[in-house]
């Protein structure tokens, strides 16, 4: 290995990597199977290739690209919350119906009681918090396995939904603010402004981090690499915005349709906040610790019960957001809201992204990437004109194909002793 400057971390001797050695190291890690998000990204690329070849004009259109976001948004929000629960090795089977119940709470307040969005949405979110607390309490303090608690909740919430909806009616939502959430776009100007702010923010945090380490004389990523990352992110973000700010209306004459969908910054903000919480705060550290080894965490004085409750609270809260987005997209709530495949898709999103069902391993970005995989499959399948039977079968196969990219790379990891 080529080494140049040698710095000391405290007292342990380590080597300050150069751009070259950093890249070599990364490549060796990848070859060793430690590929992080790369698998999900590769899976996405594979899917884009499959559907891009099968339906080039439609699948790869700007319209379809923008649809992807609102189609996937609800599941992604729910999956983000589930990541926390999964990090503790728990499960929340009721997350889907929690989203339905919270969506219904909002819809009932808006449509039947004439509340406005700025009161109805907070109440729906609080409903999520309360639900999460109850589940967390039963799991953590009473000690019932989360599978059973949330299965019970899964059943009970279907009932609550029916009761809320007066036995099964379909409640329409007309509040323009709520409807805009999942269905409208930002203006082109706003889109670009936000993109620039995001990239600048990213660059700043990267620089500050390196600065902090340099000033302590700790090993840090070489400046070249930091630059590379920032440029990479900038290209991705700007390319995305460029596509989404093109005119994509079916009838541009009647109706111009351009700009980044509003859900995109919503997802981005949620992902950034939760990533920050998980990776930069004590709380996040403790979540990983409890998930990795509850006993060790307890011995380190971490209030494991409170952490356990909190992840269910976060999960149900995010489910509430997911429910609001779903209600916005459907502009209505019905007794099926949050049912059928919503939960399985959300868990699958997290798992495909790389979150472990056994706890201790996972990131919020997994939910986003995995959710994207799920959304792309659903979206692409929708363009294929299969019969119901064939469609189910192909969806299963494509899901398997996307997941095996990840599995095959991780098998390498097992072979080389990494985990």
């Amino acid at each position: 290995m080529s080494t140049t400057t040698t710095t000391t971390a405290g007292g342990i001797q380590v080597v300050q990597p150069t751009v070259g050695s950093h890249l070599t190291g990364y490549w060796q890690r990848v070859r060793g199977g430690d590929i992080g998000s790369l698998a999900a990204i590769l899976g996405l690329v594979v899917l884009f290739l499959i559907f891009g070849f099968a339906r080039p004009e439609t699948f790869l259109s700007a319209l379809n690209f923008s649809n992807l976001f609102s189609q996937g948004a609800s599941v992604i929000f729910i999956a983000m919350g589930l990541v926390f629960v999964l990090l503790l090795g728990e499960i929340d089977l009721s997350a889907g119906y929690t989203s339905g119940v919270c969506g219904a709470v909002m819809a009932v307040l808006l449509s039947n009681h004439g509340w406005s969005w700025y009161t109805a949405i907070p109440v729906a979110l609080v409903a999520g918090l309360v639900i999460g607390f109850m589940i967390g309490f039963l799991v953590s303090k009473v000690g019932i396995p989360s599978f059973v608690v949330t299965l019970a909740a899964f059943l009970a919430f279907q009932g609550v939904l029916l009761v809320l909806l007066g036995g099964g009616t379909n409640i329409s939502i007309r509040d323009p603010f709520v409807l805009a959430l999942a269905n409208k776009n930002m203006s082109v100007a706003m889109s670009w402004i936000l993109a620039v702010v995001a990239v600048a923010g990213y660059a700043a945090t990267q620089l500050i981090k390196v600065r902090g380490r340099v000033s302590r004389g700790l090993v840090h990523d070489p400046m070249g690499i930091v630059l590379l990352r920032v440029v990479g992110v900038a290209i991705l973000v700007f390319a995305g915005v460029a596509i989404l700010t093109q005119e994509r209306a079916i009838n541009p004459a009647i109706n111009s349709l351009k700009g980044v969908p509003i859900v995109v910054p919503l997802i981005a903000v949620a992902a950034i906040i939760w990533t920050f919480v998980l990776s930069r705060t004590t709380y996040g550290r403790h979540v990983y610790a409890v998930g990795g080894n509850t006993e060790a965490a307890r011995r380190a004085g971490i209030p494991t019960d409170r952490i356990r409750i909190s992840v269910f609270v976060i999960c149900s809260f995010m489910a509430a957001i997911g429910g609001i987005i779903a209600a916005s997209r459907a502009s209505s709530v019905d007794p099926r809201s949050g049912g059928s495949n919503v939960l399985l898709y959300a868990v699958a999103a997290a798992v495909i992204g790389g979150t472990s069902l056994f706890g201790g391993k996972g990131r919020v970005i997994d939910a986003v990437l995995g959710g994207a995989v799920i959304a792309v499959i659903d979206n692409g399948m929708g363009l294929m004109n299969f019969t119901s039977g064939t469609k189910f079968i192909f969806t299963g196969l494509v899901l398997l194909a996307a997941a095996s990219v990840d599995a095959l790379s991780r098998r390498r990891a097992a072979a080389t002793g990494n985990r």
Partner: protein
Amino acid sequence: ACGNDDKDSGTGSNGGTSSVGKVGVILPDTASSQRWGTDDPKYLKAAFDAAGVQADIQNAQGDKAAFQTIADGMISSGVKVLMIVNLDSGTGKAVLDKAKAAGIATIDYDRLTLNGGADYYVSFDNVKVGELQGKGLIDCLTAKKYTKPVVAELNGSPTDNNATLFKQGYDSQLKPKYDSGEYVKGPDQSVPDWDNAQAGTIFEQMLTQNKNIKGVLAANDGLGNAAIQVLKKNKLNGQVPVTGQDATVQGLQNILVGDQCMTVYKAIKQEADAAAALAISLAKGEAPTTATGSVTDPESKKEVKSVLLTPKSITKENVKDVVADGFVTKEQLCTGEYAKLCTEAGIS
């Protein structure tokens, strides 16, 4: 939904002779349509209460094992009449057979159990429902004067036999148009479990695939609304006619605004009253006189004594009929921005 069903009437096992028996009703689910959760239990209960007949009305929540378990429970609690809306003909038949073996009179409500051999059948004509939808769409497309419009079909659940019958009905109207080249057949997909959220994605993809869709045959109001939301997003609502079924508040409102072309109103109260009347006379040990019609079971080829009601096509012009019928109240329908439209449509 029901009152206490205790002590007073004869307990099942000795049942059968003189006293008024109990009636068991099993509804299928609460998701395929709101009617099973709200309308049917309400009307049925009212009818039974009025006649002073005890009724146990339950819903199987779409779970066929639960459907059978409920039937077992009703049989063992000694009902004299069993009325079912099957989830599928197979379990329906299993339940009917068990009931008949226990000497219980049986009624198929709304959905005919194929080869089930129920004593009576009360329903709307489901193929007819589809036909009305097909005709309705054709009318709206004609009014829009589209030439060679592309028609998309958003079918009901692939696992619901009624959905198959609806499709049979509307395809019988549309197919000649496709064949003659008057219309162009667009995407044609089923929506698993009638799930509205999935319907939204499915229709969005239909539209992405074929931007020229000019008409949508949606099998019920929930699916129709899902399609309308997508059209709205693309500012195409109102220009692309969408059909529906069930005359839900949402559907009727969509019609008032002009986003939905039509819906099919099935006068559920009439259906419930007819079925309850049958059940009541059976429970009293009388021979019913109302089942004058008959339907041929396509599988067993046997005749089933029936009451068949006619579904009604609803457009902007006759939305008021639904309100007049008491199926939907003015308070429910004419909220907020719809008040004005209600007045325009002559609803008072």
